[in-house]
Structures are given as structure tokens and as C-alpha cells.
């Protein structure tokens, strides 16, 4: 398959290793990865913060970058960015009264997938041939869990990783408190939610907290480093790409 990588602005700028790992997993499975150079940001931060007008040019740019029709699928290492495209683009295009954009979004959005849902749901692959001999607790990010309905796709992939020890995360489905600008606009509530998430991660005995979204990992990881816990926040793509000897 010819797969367009929707790298997302956050992964591109701050977490290139997660992007490289996404490429590695897709190429290992024999797919042709393309990275359209026109892509910037999907507009999620603007749209979710009340700046819909500012998000519209970014939405149009995304549709230009990925809507060429030469891609079999578009894949991103982020549930929330994919949720933005699949769940919010149709509504925002309609609200903008742009019929051409509505049509373009309708054609493109169903072909945009989060990495683990693409692997399990579209390709039917649960074992990507990874090896990662570490104790891992998996945090299901909210938008993947409740908007994209990823279900246990990420866990199925993790269970098939050689050498991994998957640990139970208490109240796993509770939000980590990131929520985009929520983390700074309601910093105190966000910090209280984060403290509980960090307590759960530490209580699990894991050395790695994994998730499908760099944004949640930036949040959880930022607190894990502040607390000098020694526990790392790692994107699931990096675990699926890993070929570490046990």
C-alpha cells in the first residue's frame, strides 16, 4: 500500500523518534511510505480552543496535502489528530458553508487512520515482529478510546511484542489531564488529574508508560521527569518498531 504519513506538528517538531518508528513499522510490513511536504498542523489546537476561523486555512491545507488521491491511506501516530480530521473536519467544513471542502473532506476523512487502528483494523496485523524486553503500562488516550473507539487494538499489538511485560494500569481510562490548552488554562485541575495518573503509573511497577499520542506522553512524561521517577513515557510506535535483544 501507498501510505501517506500524517506526521502531526507535535511529533514532527518535538518527537521525531516516534515518527521514525512509525515509518519503520509500516516499511517493515512492506508498505510504501510517503510524507507530503505540504502538511503543517491539522488545526486541532485552534478548533478545540474556540478559534475555528483560524483553523479553517489549516484544514484546507491538510486537505490539499493529503487529498491528491494517489494515497491508499493516511496514517498518523496520534489519535487526537486523527479524531480532529475524521470527527471534526466534516462539521467544521459544513459550518463554514464550503461545499467543495465538505466534499473533499468526505472523500478524504474515512481514509485517515491512527497507527494502531490501521495496523489491526485495516491490515489485520497484530504481530509486527517487535521485541521490547521492558515492563510497560499502557495508557489509553481519551480521543483514541472514546472518539476513534480504538478498543483493544493497541493492546493486541503490545501483547504480541517479544519480551514485553504488560502491567495493569489502575484507572487506565481516566484522562491524564492534558486536554490541549486545558493544561495551562485550568492548570490546577490538570495538575490534580496528572498527579493521579502518575501515581497509577508508578503503582503499576512499569519502567515505561506507553500511549498512542505524543501529546498525552508529553504531559505524563513531563511529570515523570519532574518527579525524577526514572519511568519513561514512550510512544507505542517506538515499542512496535523496537528490535531490542532480550
Amino acid at each position: 500500500m501507498r501510505v501517506g504519513l500524517f506526521i502531526t506538528c507535535l511529533t514532527d517538531t518535538l518527537y521525531p523518534d516516534s515518527g521514525k518508528a512509525t515509518v519503520a513499522v509500516l516499511e517493515r510490513l512492506g508498505h510504501d511510505v510517503v510524507v507530503p511536504a505540504e502538511q503543517t498542523c491539522c488545526g486541532q489546537m485552534h478548533a478545540n480552543s474556540g478559534y475555528e476561523a483560524e483553523a479553517m486555512p489549516l484544514i484546507r491545507n491538510f486537505v490539499r496535502a493529503f487529498g491528491g488521491g494517489d494515497l491508499d491511506a493516511v496514517v498518523a501516530p496520534s489519535g487526537s489528530c486523527v479524531a480532529m480530521v475524521r470527527h471534526h473536519y466534516p462539521r467544521l467544513a459544513a459550518e463554514a458553508g464550503d461545499a467543495a471542502l465538505v466534499d473533499a473532506v468526505a472523500a478524504l476523512a474515512p481514509r485517515v487512520f491512527e497507527l494502531t487502528e490501521f495496523l489491526v483494523g485495516e491490515l489485520g496485523v497484530e504481530d509486527v515482529g517487535a521485541s521490547y524486553p521492558h515492563r510497560v503500562a499502557y495508557h489509553p488516550s481519551c480521543h483514541g478510546l472514546r472518539v476513534l473507539r480504538l478498543g483493544d487494538a493497541p493492546l493486541r499489538l503490545l501483547r504480541n511484542v517479544d519480551g514485553i511485560e504488560l502491567l495493569e494500569l489502575e484507572e487506565a481510562e481516566a484522562c491524564c489531564g492534558f486536554g490541549g490548552t486545558f493544561a495551562v488554562k485550568n492548570a490546577d485541575v490538570s495538575a490534580a488529574m496528572l498527579a493521579d495518573k502518575v501515581r497509577a503509573v508508578l503503582g503499576s511497577g512499569a519502567e515505561v508508560c506507553a500511549a498512542t499520542d505524543s501529546s498525552c506522553l508529553m504531559h505524563i512524561g513531563g511529570a515523570l521527569r519532574r518527579g525524577r521517577t526514572g519511568v519513561r513515557a514512550v510512544h507505542i510506535a517506538e515499542i512496535l518498531a523496537a528490535e531490542e535483544a532480550g
Binding site: H46, G50, L58, N61, F182, A183, V184, M218
Partner: protein, 474 residues
């Protein structure tokens, strides 16, 4: 980026109260688990939710017609219907009705609508004492406190606090122990006497049926049944969005509501009455139909679904924000996720302007809502409305010129690939500098300081993914 007032400030205060946080965590987790179990018993729960959503959507779409049908049916059954455009009108109507009976005290069924309009205070201003008969509302009334939860108004209180309150406030309660049985018995003895002498009762309504004129109140303690059957005069204050077209619609609603609210299979006391019946129950029945912002909320195609709410509180109980701040931080009769979308809309954004941001958009509320109100989408939609209001100079507590500027700048930078790469090349060295100088970020007011109070900034990479990709594929 951190507003001075509104929800963030009130939340900060609530977060500092460790007793409150423990009470709330216990209570919300208990109700949350019980609800999940009650819902899991119903194999067609998702279909029921969809049915509930469609019933409420149809009811509000043709609200004008249903309300006129309701008025005609209530009148036919011997009741009197009054229309109140706002809180002041509703309070005046109720006050006049009570005065006309010559009574100076009334008993009340727990009602969100009368709390919303501040009826008790309005009646007190006319020399009429309104006694709350719901146990938790009574607790709040006796302690001069306000509700912090739609269904469990005294969720922020524990047994020891309630025992002390009853010993102080309830005459003849004697030596009380802390068991729920003893506390309830003390309230029961106090209330029974008041029920028996009450001539006027005031209730809200969970539902009103347009085709029959039937009003419905659901409750767990039997106090509502006392109020709707014993006194001579019954006055019901009801938001206009509570109307349902057909009696058969209750079949769906009475399954959805108890499981979502109290995690019960069937509601304990479901009182349905249609006008008046000679020799049975009240001799006089008045229905006050309250608008108070509902018609203007109805005009918003995205926001109007907030009016579908059946006040079950499931969204409060599952909300990670409510769980940590409690209801008072929302500074509204309607707290939690539903309050965050109702309060600003009912008040035309005069109140609760910061509430649409009181959510991480985790979506737990939407999943729990028995009538499938897409609360996260409405929150985001209302954020847009507030941002546009503030950009136009409304001067509310959500006004944030710094944020407006940053957002415009970011949108400009993300607008073309060339500007985006330039922004990356600017941001990364800045981040490297912040990483090199510990504590520097905390000195920069706004988002950087807010972020770094409890978190480290990300460690900037040597090169971006795009740069790596360019080098890899020349």
C-alpha cells in the same frame, strides 16, 4: 492565558480542600461503579440511548406546538397554566399564588428549576417560608449551603458533618449517632409534622406530557409524593424543555433515568398527576412554564442539545474535572459537564463564560449521557462563541487578548509549509535555551509558567522529523 476569575480560580480554591476532595472521590467513584453495573444489565442500552435522544430531539424541534398542547390538556384537566419569560416573572407568579392562599409556609419537592430562579429567596422576601423536604436539600438549607450536585446536592458533606448539623438545627433530635438510619429518622420526624400541616406545595417536573397534560416527578425518598398529594394547592415550576410529546415516551425515559442517576433498575417513587381530581390530592393545581433563556438556547443549532438533559447527573459522576473540584467551583445551579454547557447558554453568556473550558474534552460525559448529548462538541462550539464575543469586546472573565494574539500568530505560522518550517527553526532553539537554564520557563508568565509548575518541558530533539526525512530521501 490563565484568567484571573471564573472557573480556574474557583477550582483552585476547591482543590485545596482535601476533605472535600476525599468526600467527592469516594462518592463519585461509588456512583460511577454502580451506574456502570446497572447499565451493563441492559442489552439494548445503546438503542435505548438513541431512542431517548430522538424523543428529546423531536420534543424540542416542535416545542411550540407541544407546549400549546400541554397547556390545553392541563387546562382541560382542571389545572391552570402560567407562562414565565424569566426568573423574575416566575417568582412573581408563584409568590402571588401562595399569597392568594393566605399561607406563609410551603413545602418543596427537590427542583432544579426553582433553584435556578432563586425561588426560596424570592418567597422569603414576601414573608413566605419555603421548606426543602428532600433530605440533601434540607441539609443544605439548614446549613445555609448551596447544592454542589444535581442529584446528590450534599455530596460534599460527610456523615459527621450532617450529624453535627442535625443536632444543632433539628428540634428534639436528641443524641444522634452517625448511622444513615439515625440521621434519616431525625429528618423524617421533623419533616412529617411539616407535611401534615402544609397547605401549599411547590414542585419541579421531570417530565410533562403534551398529549395528556400529565406531570411527572421522580424521587427516591417519598417526600415528593407527600408534597404532591397532601397539600390543598400544588404549584409546579417547569422549564419549557421538559415537555414530552406522548405518554408512551415515558417508557424510554423511565428506563434511562433511574439507571443513569441512582443506578437503580426502577425509580422508587414515580408520581404522575393530571390536573386535579375531586376528593383525591390537591384541589388546585398550577403549572408555571419557565423560559429563562431556553428559547434563545434553542436557536443555536449545535448548543440546543443541552436542552435535552434529563438531569440524571451521570456526566458529573464520570467527569474527572468535577471529581476533583466539586460542584461549587462551577458557580451555578447546574455544575459539571452539563452545567458547563447549560449555564452560559441559559444566561446568554452573562454567567459561566469560562465554563466551556472546564473540561479536558476526554469524552467520558458523552459516553455516559443517557440521551447522547455530545457535550464535548457543544463545549468546543461554545468556546468559539465566547472567543468571538470577547474578540468583539464583550469584556467578560474569559477575555484573554494574549491568547488571541498567540493563536493568530500560530495560525499564521502553520498557514504554509514555508512559514511552518521557519516557526520550527525559531521554536526549537528557544526550547533548547529553556532546557539549558533550569527554572527559566517558570519566570515567563502565561502558559510556560503554568506548564512548568508540575511538569518539565519536552526535551528538544537535534533535528525535526521533516529534516531527518529530507536527509533520508534526497
Amino acid at each position: 492565558m490563565t484568567p484571573a476569575g471564573g472557573f480556574p480560580a474557583a477550582a483552585r480554591e476547591a482543590l485545596g480542600d482535601s476533605q472535600l476532595r476525599a468526600n467527592l472521590r469516594n462518592a463519585t467513584h461509588t456512583i460511577r461503579d454502580k451506574r456502570a453495573a446497572a447499565v451493563a444489565e441492559v442489552p439494548d442500552w445503546q438503542e435505548l440511548r438513541e431512542a431517548g435522544r430522538l424523543i428529546k430531539e423531536r420534543a424540542t424541534r416542535h416545542l411550540d406546538r407541544h407546549l400549546e398542547d400541554l397547556e390545553a390538556a392541563v387546562t382541560r384537566a382542571g389545572g391552570t397554566v402560567h407562562w414565565a419569560a424569566d426568573a423574575a416573572a416566575a417568582n412573581r407568579i408563584v409568590g402571588d399564588l401562595v399569597e392568594a392562599t393566605g399561607q406563609t409556609e410551603v413545602v418543596k419537592v427537590k427542583s432544579m428549576a426553582t433553584e435556578e430562579i432563586g425561588l426560596n429567596a424570592a418567597l422569603a422576601g414576601r414573608g413566605i417560608e419555603a421548606l426543602e423536604t428532600d433530605l440533601a436539600e434540607l441539609i443544605n438549607q439548614l446549613s445555609g449551603d448551596t447544592s454542589s450536585h444535581i442529584l446528590v446536592p450534599a455530596i460534599h458533606r460527610n456523615r459527621a458533618e450532617i450529624r453535627a448539623l442535625f443536632q444543632r438545627e433539628l428540634p428534639g433530635s436528641g443524641e444522634l449517632d452517625e448511622t444513615p438510619e439515625a440521621l434519616t429518622a431525625a429528618a423524617r420526624a421533623y419533616l412529617r409534622e411539616r407535611f401534615l400541616r402544609a397547605e401549599v406545595a411547590i414542585s419541579g417536573a421531570n417530565f410533562a406530557i403534551a398529549e395528556t397534560g400529565t406531570i411527572g416527578v421522580v424521587e427516591s425518598e417519598g417526600n415528593g409524593r407527600m408534597c404532591t398529594t397532601l397539600p390543598r394547592t400544588l404549584i409546579t415550576v417547569m422549564g419549557i424543555e421538559k415537555v414530552l410529546p406522548r405518554l408512551a415516551d415515558l417508557e424510554v425515559m423511565l428506563q434511562l433515568l433511574p439507571r443513569s442517576s441512582t443506578a437503580e433498575r426502577m425509580n422508587p417513587y414515580t408520581s404522575l398527576w393530571t390536573g386535579v381530581t375531586p376528593g383525591d390530592g390537591p384541589e388546585e393545581f398550577h403549572l408555571v412554564l419557565l423560559d429563562a433563556g431556553r428559547t434563545s438556547a434553542l436557536a443555536d443549532e449545535v448548543g440546543r442539545q443541552a436542552l435535552h438533559c434529563i438531569r440524571c447527573s451521570a456526566c458529573l459522576n464520570v467527569c474527572p474535572v468535577y471529581e476533583r473540584t466539586g460542584g461549587h467551583a462551577y458557580e451555578s445551579v447546574y455544575p459539571g459537564p452539563i452545567g458547563a454547557i447549560l449555564t452560559p447558554q441559559l444566561s446568554s453568556f452573562e454567567k459561566g463564560e469560562t465554563l466551556p473550558w472546564a473540561s479536558s474534552l476526554c469524552g467520558a460525559c458523552y459516553d455516559a449521557c443517557p440521551v447522547k448529548i455530545d457535550i464535548p462538541t457543544v463545549l468546543v462550539h461554545l468556546r468559539g462563541k465566547v472567543v468571538r464575543r470577547e474578540a468583539a469586546g464583550a469584556g467578560g472573565e474569559a477575555d484573554d487578548p494574549g491568547e488571541r494574539l498567540s493563536m493568530k500568530l500560530a495560525a499564521w505560522a502553520f498557514g504554509t509549509p514555508r512559514r511552518y518550517r521557519l516557526a520550527q527553526r525559531t521554536a526549537l532553539p528557544a526550547l533548547r535555551l529553556l532546557a539549558k537554564v533550569p527554572g527559566l520557563a517558570r519566570l515567563i508568565p502565561g502558559p510556560l509558567a503554568a506548564w512548568t509548575t508540575v511538569r518539565e518541558l519536552p526535551e528538544p530533539p537535534e533535528e525535526t522529523f521533516s529534516e531527518w526525512w529530507q536527509g533520508r530521501r534526497p
